[in-house]
């Protein structure tokens, strides 16, 4: 029997009852108290550039059509026919002016409005029996966009997206706004892993500690120019609003352009970043000397920015990936992984950055392979009886009194708190939000 108060209390002090990574009761609470309320990422506007373009995405079991209507507006509609509940659109992407239900041919425009109802007069007696006017596929209860990222919430009373993103919006720009042209997404690769969805989300929120060992193989083969173990502990770990992430320390002495060149950005892209990022955002790179790497926006959207060597000439090229941990059950997750690149980037950069992505992340990525092996194994171990007796220590960076071992960085240009060195600050930050939702304290 689940003692939720005890679980939440343990989680809040950084001792994680291991069963939460394979517990159907916890999963039901996550569905009802977390995913029923939180803002959740669905798609990016660049995936549906033209009127009629659509993709179909889910929030757990709920399928939504994300479409650009004929007027160019983004619409998010529950993919269930008003009549008998058939899934209206069964493709995952395409272009359509209307969606016609296969069952009885009720037909909806790509803005959701019901326009076609066969034998309306004969079957219903026309408007008198069934008022067609004003009928539409159920819209997402709340919808918002930021940098082209389309989010929805199943809670009609959700706070505005901008309020939700809060201080994390500062960091979001590094991944999704590198020039006025914005970012374009390609993908997603999709695959199912037998792992609990929280593990990946926590990992990206702040686990710099796993890099030296889990990813030793990519260092062994020279995919990176520097040894990850020593570089990783020099990075700052930040927690801001609903997000948290990791950074790498850049070499001393460089200015803003030098630091972007160091991670492989071509000169053609540097003015875009210089123009669109705020003084404070540029200062994070140039003065604080940190470059963002992995991050998670609560609950289940993660980001990664890295800069491998992609050819025999050891050319360093950065890439960005967005990834979503879509829960299937307490023991299975669908991973969606996109490649993201500045829409105004030179074609040659887009090509090489894509290569860098494929080598490192996604279904075949040499980083991601070893991550998923670990996460599947954790989920497997968490399902038994003994896991209910084990609390996983997630207190790295805290003293026994619960104080930070080291003070936060004073010279860190970004909002929120940041710590240098290893520590599970980001994971606890994420788990704190999780606890708020499960205990019903979230707002």
């Amino acid at each position: 029997m689940l003692d939720l108060a005890s679980v939440v209390s343990d989680v809040r002090r950084g001792m994680i009852p291991a069963h939460v990574y394979a517990d159907p009761e916890i999963f039901a609470l996550e569905r009802d108290r977390l995913f029923a309320r939180s803002w959740v990422f669905l798609a990016h506007e660049s995936e549906i550039p033209d009127p009629g373009d659509y993709v179909v995405r889910r929030v757990l079991a709920d399928s939504f059509i994300v479409a650009r209507d004929e007027a160019g507006a983004v619409r998010v509609m529950f993919n269930m026919c008003l009549h008998r509940g058939m899934q209206v659109c069964r493709a995952e992407m395409g272009n359509a002016s209307h969606f016609r239900c296969p069952y009885h041919a009720w037909t909806y425009r790509n803005d959701g409005r019901l326009t076609g109802l066969p034998f309306h007069e004969e079957a219903y007696g026309g408007e008198d029996g069934f008022a067609r006017a004003g009928q539409a596929l159920l819209p997402a209860p709340s919808m918002g966009t930021h940098n082209g990222l389309i989010f929805i919430s199943l809670d009609p009373g959700a706070p505005p997206l901008a309020d939700y993103l809060g201080d994390f919006a500062f960091y979001l720009d590094f991944y999704t706004r590198q020039s006025p042209a914005g970012v374009e997404l390609r993908g997603p690769q999709r695959w199912r892993v037998k792992a609990n969805w929280k593990i990946g989300a926590e990992n990206f929120a702040g686990d710099s500690y796993h890099t030296p060992h889990t990813h030793a193989s990519v260092v062994d083969i020279g995919l990176f120019r520097e040894p990850k173990a020593s570089k990783r502990k020099e990075g700052a770990l930040y927690q801001a609003g609903p997000g948290a992430g990791t950074t790498y320390k850049l070499p001393p002495g460089g200015d803003f352009a030098d630091q972007l060149r160091y991670v492989g950005y071509p000169d053609a892209m540097i003015p875009g970043m210089a123009a669109i990022w705020s003084d404070r955002q540029r200062a994070l790179v140039a003065d604080s000397g940190f470059m963002v790497s992995a991050a998670t926006l609560f609950p289940n959207l993660s980001f990664v920015h890295n800069w491998p060597q992609i050819d025999a000439a050891r050319t360093v090229v950065p890439f960005i990936s967005l990834r979503q941990w879509q829960p299937v059950s307490e023991r299975e997750t669908e991973v969606l992984s996109w490649f993201a690149v500045d829409a105004a980037a030179p074609e040659d950069f887009k090509r090489t950055s894509y290569k860098a992505y494929l080598m490192c992340f996604g279904t075949s990525g040499m980083f991601e392979q070893d991550d998923v092996e670990n996460w599947v194994s954790i989920t497997d171990m968490a399902a038994g009886s003994m896991a209910r007796r084990l609390k996983l220590n997630s207190r790295m960076g805290l003293t026994s009194e619960g104080k930070p071992v080291k003070p936060p960085l004073a010279a860190f240009a970004g909002p929120g708190l940041a710590y240098q060195g290893f520590g599970e600050y980001g994971q606890r930050h994420w788990l704190g939000r999780w606890s708020d939702h499960l205990s019903g304290e979230a707002r």
């Binding site: 892993v193 991601e368 392979q369």
Partner: protein, 221 residues
């Protein structure tokens, strides 16, 4: 001369192509990855598009600009090198895999080149508690005749799932590299790759005249 119909199954070229695939499989089954790299042309392009569910009339069933693989020889060598380290956890302990290669059809391309289509069913079992994975795919290969025999110049893998049910593709190139039939998108990719500088090709699709693939000791990880 390009043939539109497959070569007769008794044709020497078909037999050679079929044998190439079986011998390649034997190398991989023996975990001889360095030997496998020797079978690749220096300008190899190894791609696996992401399949998507689309309406019948959509005219496409793969994502534009995104694959599971889009590899050159450098990237493939890195993957092989990685698995040879002591830290490639996802395949240590290794998966138990078996690939079933069938439906081999050979078409004559320009010169001595052969286009070979095959089908693959891949079984993968890990550990003692997890369900095994099955992965079904088609494959279209371009085999180039060289002084050292046939070498792989192009491979397109057409996987039959939109959402893969396996934890990663760590083993795919090593164990699952052999099958294919051309979908409409594969055909267009194929024909687009014929000219030396076709759009969408990361590198020229054919080596300069006179250059041939040769065995390269330097390709060993």
């Amino acid at each position: 001369m390009t043939t539109a119909r497959p070569l007769p199954y008794g044709d020497q070229a078909h037999l050679a192509a079929h044998q190439f695939l079986v011998e390649e499989a034997a190398l991989l089954d023996a975990a001889d990855y360095a030997g496998w790299l020797e079978l690749l042309c220096e300008d190899i392009r190894y791609v696996m598009p992401v399949r998507v569910t689309t309406a019948r009339g959509a005219g496409f069933d793969t994502l534009a600009g995104m694959g599971h693989f889009d590899e050159d020889l450098y990237a493939l060598r890195k993957r092989v090198q990685r698995l040879a380290t002591d830290h490639a956890w996802t395949e240590d302990p290794p998966s138990r895999t078996r690939h079933f290669v069938t439906n081999v059809r050979t078409f004559r391309e320009e010169g001595e080149d052969l286009r070979v289509e095959s089908a693959l069913l891949m079984f993968r079992s890990r550990g003692d508690t997890r369900e095994a994975d099955l992965l079904s795919a088609g494959r279209t290969d371009l085999l180039r005749a060289t002084a050292d025999g046939l070498r792989l110049a192009r491979r397109e893998i057409t996987v039959d799932e939109s959402v893969l049910r396996t934890q990663n593709l760590a083993v795919f190139l090593l164990w699952r590299t052999r099958s294919g039939w051309p979908t409409s998108s594969a055909r267009s990719w194929w024909s687009a790759c014929r000219p030396a500088t076709a759009p969408g090709c990361a590198s020229p699709c054919r080596p300069p005249a006179g250059r041939s693939c040769s065995a390269r000791s330097s390709s060993r990880p």
